[in-house]
Structure formats: C-alpha cells, structure tokens
Subunit: 374 residues, 2 copies
C-alpha cells in the first residue's frame, strides 16, 4: 500500500552523510525486533537512561562514556540536539557569547541562535586548506572576552566541508586559560575514528548515531564530566527523575536500539582508522591524477574530502545538460552522493567503501572526462 | 553478535504506551528499506520538510495538515519536542506563565520548565472522575492573568492517566477571550481517534508518532495555523532555509518514513474509533463485574482507562510475592503492560486489541482472583 522505495539502493554512495550511517547486520536485526513505537519502554521505571531491559542503563552509564573518554553520557535525538542541550544548560541571563570555528556545521550555529547566544566565528585560513588554527581561535576568543561574557566555545572535529581535524588539544588549553568550557562536535569523528575527550581536552563531546555510528536516525550521543554533570542532568522540580534538558527521555525506540546493536561493530571499526586514512589519501592522489585538486588539509587525515574539479567544471560550460551532466553520468553508473548541479566543487567520503568500489568511482570520473573531452 | 531480544514479543500488551505504536505492515517494510542513518537525505536540498524523494514535502505540506485540521505542520522528534518548540518559540522576556491542566503529561511540565515558564496547574475534580472542567480552567486562567503575563495555555486531550477528554472547544473559547494561545496535546488522540484542530479550536496541536501513529520512535507531529507560522518557522539569520525551532531538521531517517508509511493505515483506523470506544466500555463493564472500579469519565470515551482494583489489592496484602504477585501472574499468562508492583491502581489500554485478546485478559484477571481467594 504505502511502501516507499529508496532510489539509491545498490548504488555506490559517496555522500559523506551516508557512509558512516549504514547499518550493521546486528542493527538491521534489531530494527525489526524493536520497530514498534515505544518498544524499549516495556520495562521502564521512569527514565530512558535507567532502563535495564534492554540494557540501556549499562550502555549509557558504562560502555558509551568509556568509548567517548568521559565520565558521563546521554543519548540524544541527534548531534544537534546534544549541542543545543549543552548550550541551553549553560546559558545564563543577559548577553552571552559563544565562540565557534568558522567551519562549524550549520546546526551548531542554529542551535546557538535557538539558545539565544551572540555568535563569534573563528574564520578559517581560506583557500586551499581552510584550516582553523589554535592561534586564530585564541585571538578571537581574546577579542570577544574583552568585549563581553563568553559562556561557551565550540570546535568542529572534523568539519563537514573539508574534513579538517583542528588541533583540539591546543584549543582546549586556550579555552581553559579563559575559563571557557569547550564543546567538541565530533559528529564526523565518533564512530569513525578513535576519539577520546580525555585525550583531546574540552568539556563536552557530541557524536551522531545516524551519521557515524551505523544507526538508524535520529540519534546522537553526548559525553561530559563531573564538573558539568549537575547542569546537564538538572532534574524537574516536580518530577524528580526527569532531566530537563532531555525532556525526560530522548531517543526512545529503534533509534537507541540500533545504536546499541551497532556498538560492538563501531568499536571495532574505529581501530581500523589508519586503513581508512590511507585509503582516503590514495583516493585523493588518484583524483589529482585526473586533474582534480583536493582542498583542506593535505595529506588528508579523514575520509571526508573536498575537491575542486577544473576538468568537470570546464565540461559543464559546454555540456548539453550544463552543470547537471555530472549528476546524470554518475547516476547512470549507479554512483550517488554528489549533489545535482555540482561540478566545480564537491565533497565526498570514502568511508567504509572497498578499494574496488572506489576504483569504480575513479574509473567513472575518468570515463566521463574522456567522453566529454573526446 | 549484539542482538537484543524483546522480551514481550508475542505477549498481549495492554500498556497504553504500546497499543497505538505497533507498526503497520507497511511501516515494517520501510523500516528495513530506510534503516540506514541519513537515508531520507539522499535527495535533500537543505530542509527535511522540503524533500521530494521520498515525498516528505507532500506529507508535511498537505497530507498531515489536512489530517490535523491545520494550515501547516512540522515533524518533530516526538510530542514533547513539539511542545517545547511551541513553548520556546512563544517565550518572551521576563516572567511569563503557562497555564496547563493538572492531568498534563510530565513532559508538558518539563518542557515548560526548560522554556523557563512559571507554571500554573488547573487541578482536576479528583476522585472518581478526575475531570478538568472549562469552568475551573477559566478560574485559574483568570486568576493568573490578574497576577502576571500568561503567554500560553495547554490542554491534554486526552490525558495519559485517566483517558479523559476535556471540553477543548469551550476551553479554546475561554483562552481566546483572554488572548492566550492554546496548545492541544493530542499524543493519545492523533492517530487513534478523529481529531481536528479546526473543529476543536486552539492554536497548536501535537501528536506522537510512536505513541499513537503506528511509527517507530521517536517522532512527533505539530499542527498550527498562519497566525503563528512566522514564529514557529523562524529562520536562521545566517542559514536562510533552516528553521531555528527545529534545529534545521528533526526526525530524519526511519522515524519519518514509518510515520509516512503508516499514514494510510492510521487515517483508516481513526474512522473506526466508535468501535474502539464501544470495546473499551465493554471491557470496563467486564472489569467492574470482577470488582474493579473504572475511574475517570464514565461511560468512558477512550481506550486508555484507569482502574481501582480492590480485589487485587486485598490479595497483595497476603500473597507470598506481596504486591508483585499480579505482575508475575500476568507474565506467566504472557500479558504485559501493568507495571511490576501495581495492584491497587493501574492503567491499561484496549486499543487495537481484539475482543478475543481482551477476553483472555479478563479471564486471566478472574482466574488470578479466584486462585488467591480460593
């Protein structure tokens, strides 16, 4: 009756949004088992984070914080909801600033707007690397701190455009020296690569289940330590076991269950991160052999990469479909992930794809370039 | 490896949280098809509500508002998140009040705390009906309006303890006369019974996908009209297609897809609401034949019912397991939904269960009472 087919099924999907969120086999099985709406609440005693059957409590109080390198964790409806929870919990009265890197995801910005902050952006180093440096972070922080009350800082690790991994250790020390807590947005890190707040520094870490932890959407994770635990887990005055920033309970149902089911798989795959980086660098070199230019940090340290593609851009000026030629050519070849109309600049991700799949992508680019240049 | 089994599988589940959230067959199919994290974002152009493939845009801009009797709709991460979005969007500066019925769900209260409101509760009529009357609503509203600035009112339709359906039409007119917008929390109505904000009155209606719309969790719906559209859909200053109260996008992935897949099924089932009410009343009479007392409105108008159970309470005083005897006896009979330890008072729901299943529940209660009385 009302079945919707996913049109990209069976495609090689290089969309950075998609490569880390593909379900594990275990997650596919729990999908059906826990599909019904409030399934996880069969044995609830008042808080999602305290449910013992299924073992959400153990996951939230032990497994997840260990994985994040924090003392506490919470499951949220997504990374953006986790960021907003922190921003809102810390927000005081009057004018307050948040300082964030200029490569921040739009949802960090929107969450800060929702929480009523004034926002200062630390601009990146621009073409070709677009780096956010600790030095520039310090300058902006210092400047804003002189003019106003800085309540929070945020750094994106890595960012979702260039896949750059800023030096969070240094930035955390800088923030500490200004007594400004730091939130690390690891939506493209947690679940893909080893990441520990303990090692990085900073006060909060946020991850995305559907983006990088092989989970059904929407679900996110938040790690934090004792110093901010009271603020983050503040209870309702009337309902003493309900946490205000999480409106009592967050990712009820299949979202949390796929996150938990994929956890072993995810914990194993982050240990193979070196292979992923090596594969990304190999792919980047091959793309450059075709005349593309990889922007962002080089050599690159993440599967998410941004390319400038002069050969494709030149073709778009003359092709019958104009700038849509690339999308159509890739679609014909069952490759998905570069937005329709993009040719000059685009991002993609090599995460979790085999070398054969990536070779197929590279060969396809070459074939397309040759076809239109011929 | 990491498979979690649902222990209540195959049980007759009378937990009010569970009866309206069981997936339709169509929803079960899309679960697997759209399980991967950001699956619905394959063809995104910047906003969840504008996605054409799958047809989320049509659902949000046409089907869902028609169903809710509103001009606009949004999909949220749950009913509580929808309530918070409205409360936060309307919240001004300084001290502001929200007036809500005393039968309100805890999440309404917690959402209001999070949004920084002072909260006035309209107490119910107490034992045995626990009704929230328009008269009392008017009194409290009038009283608070004299003392402070009332920004919003909320009515729970029906509430989650007694399944009472207050007279929203009258309450909406009262709120209008005070120029106070009214939010109708229909988490136990939308998707179970016919409900239209246009007919009820009020300014916002909220529903729950996982509670009452046969959807995987978490997902909610929000309906509203032109008068508050600008406030609710306020855009980011920097990212012009991102709505602040929804942090850009909400229920991405399988949550929205099960909601959409179940929509036809849900739209059909609300038309059979009369049968559900009749079945609930029949069940209530049979329970009373066993010595239980149905509290709340009588005759009852909803599948969610609250019972006082003197025969079971008497047994609990002497049984070996004490007050846990009932849970164990029901578990033995593969009946789930009354919390462990409850005997004197409990709620349950008859929604979507067959008469045969409900007869089995009734026979089980009778058998248990006889066993311990013998």
């Amino acid at each position: 009756m009302a079945f919707y087919e996913r049109q990209t099924k069976g495609f090689v999907n290089i969309d950075p949004l998609q490569t880390g969120g593909r379900l594990s086999e275990d997650a596919k099985r729990v999908l059906v088992e826990w599909g019904d709406g409030y399934s996880v609440c069969d044995f609830c005693t008042g808080s999602l984070f305290e449910i013992k059957t299924p073992p959400i409590r153990t996951f939230v109080s032990k497994l997840l914080p260990e994985f994040l390198g924090t003392e506490y964790s919470r499951i949220t409806n997504g990374a953006r909801e986790a960021k907003y929870a922190v921003m809102h919990a810390l927000r005081g009265k009057g004018e307050e600033w948040i300082v964030m890197d200029g490569n921040a995801h739009y949802s960090s910005y929107v969450a800060a707007e929702r929480a009523g902050y004034r926002i200062a952006l630390v601009e990146n180093s621009e073409y070709p690397e677009f780096r956010v440096t600790p030095e520039r972070f310090a300058e902006v922080l210092d400047d804003v701190a002189k003019r106003g009350n800085v309540r929070l800082a945020l750094i994106t690790y890595p960012d979702g455009n260039y896949g750059n991994l800023p030096d969070v250790r240094k930035i955390a020390r800088i923030c500490e020296s200004y007594d400004v807590p730091l939130l690390v947005n690891g939506a493209y890190a947690v679940g893909r690569m080893p990441v520990s707040l303990k090692e990085l520094g900073g006060n909060f870490i946020v991850g995305s289940g559907h983006k990088s932890m092989a989970s059904a959407g929407p679900v996110g994770v938040l790690g934090f330590n004792e110093d901010f635990a009271d603020r983050i887990t503040r209870k309702s005055e009337r309902y003493r076991n309900k946490e205000i920033e999480f409106l009592g309970c967050t990712a009820r149902g299949v979202a949390v269950m796929t996150l938990m089911a994929s956890f072993d798989y995810v914990a194993r795959r982050v240990k193979r991160w070196d292979e992923e980086v090596e594969k990304a660098r190999w792919f980047s070199r091959k793309m450059e052999d075709l005349g593309m230019i990889q922007l962002g940090e080089k050599p690159h340290n993440h599967d998410l990469m941004f390319f400038e593609a002069p050969p494709l851009y030149e073709i778009s000026k003359k092709a019958k479909d104009g700038r849509f030629f690339l999308y159509r050519e890739l679609k014909k070849r069952r490759i998905h992930g570069i937005k329709p109309g993009l040719t000059r600049h685009f991002k993609l991700s090599t995460y979790g794809l085999t070398r054969d799949e990536l070779r197929y992508v590279l060969d396809s680019f070459e074939e397309i370039i040759n076809k239109y240049s011929g």
